[in-house]
Symmetry: C2
């Protein structure tokens, strides 16, 4: 199943949530589920789930629900995570190292293949794929390893310049942890993780 044009990005954004829940269900021994059960787990209405999935075809039979492994494989295929994407981490501070060591990537479609930093004290530290590489070799490495995805864990002041280098070398998806909005060409996808934004969104509601 190829990616279909014209599907709202907000729908695409929910598919990884469904995929994660289905993976958990399978681990817990469930082989059949329903939009109702999935919705209950996720706090999303069953109508929303059915509508989201209907963009991609028929996954369940009326009244019998979804086969968990089938739906899960279809979602992996739609999101193109039925393969392993090589990813570079730029920035080997606390956060960059935590990302490099994170064991949750591989089962879900990603492998950190290179970690980069400018700091001579950090370059050469770490083992195997987590050995910190010199930023001078960033573009070469990205081209040789056909890397399309990067996680950016550098200080805010450095983020735009690093992003420009990543894009010029062929990266098309950046997960940016630096607390600034990046300027990038329209064919480059940028997602942001800033814990403070999530916290600030919650304090609004606190008494």
């Amino acid at each position: 199943m190829a990616s279909s044009p014209g599907i709202p990005d907000i729908v695409i954004g929910r598919l990884p949530i469904y995929l994660r829940a289905l993976t958990q269900m399978l681990q817990q021994g469930h082989s059949i589920t329903s939009s109702h059960e999935l919705g209950q787990r996720l706090g999303i209405s069953s109508a929303q789930i059915r509508k989201d999935l209907s963009h991609f075809g028929e996954f369940g039979k009326q009244g019998t629900g979804y086969q968990v492994d089938h739906l899960l494989n279809q979602l992996k295929n739609i999101l193109q995570v039925d393969r392993e994407w090589p990813v570079v981490v730029v920035g080997a501070g606390d956060l960059g190292r935590a990302l490099a060591h994170y064991r949750g990537f591989v089962a879900r479609g990603f492998r950190v293949v290179g970690v980069f930093d400018t700091d001579p004290k950090k370059v050469g530290t770490g083992e195997d794929e987590n050995r910190v590489r010199n930023m001078d070799n960033l573009e070469d490495f990205i081209r040789k390893n056909s890397v399309r995805i990067a996680m950016l864990a550098v200080p805010a002041e450095a983020a735009q310049a690093v992003s420009d280098r990543l894009v010029a070398a062929g990266v098309r998806a950046i997960l940016n942890y630096a607390p600034i909005t990046l300027a990038a060409p329209p064919d480059v996808h940028v997602q942001y993780i800033d814990p403070v934004m999530h916290l600030q969104r919650m304090t609004y509601y606190l008494e």
Copy 2:
């Protein structure tokens, strides 16, 4: 300005984005901005920005734009981050330590006041506020320090049990890094950070 009821959560979710951009503008020496300029920076339409802000009153004069520091202070007030919230971090693995060391919290309304772990090898390590505390003292600490906010960086298997303890002790906002959906009472706010979800949302679009 008190938090107004009935404002869509998606609007609240954009306010921290505006706040971050305005803070950056102020640092760069801009004292006046417009919904157009702000929108250009953020890739959000100026109409959307004006509509979002109109929920909270009048911030700019027709044709003269917004005063950056005034709008920034109003947004801080609305989001209740014109104060400092004490936050606990549960889980002192790579990620928990990265959060404990992150210097970006204080200027934006948050201070990590306690880090907790069950692992006897980790307890007692770290300095000052980052000294890792024993989980046995979690509830006591939360109550004594009136902590309402927690960041959860424990393995998926442990997350629900820890979340239940946090909530029972008085926490009302949880930033969950464990890759599972938490069950929590309706008056508890949960936000999720799962880098894989952000990556999977982008691979959909890659060729």
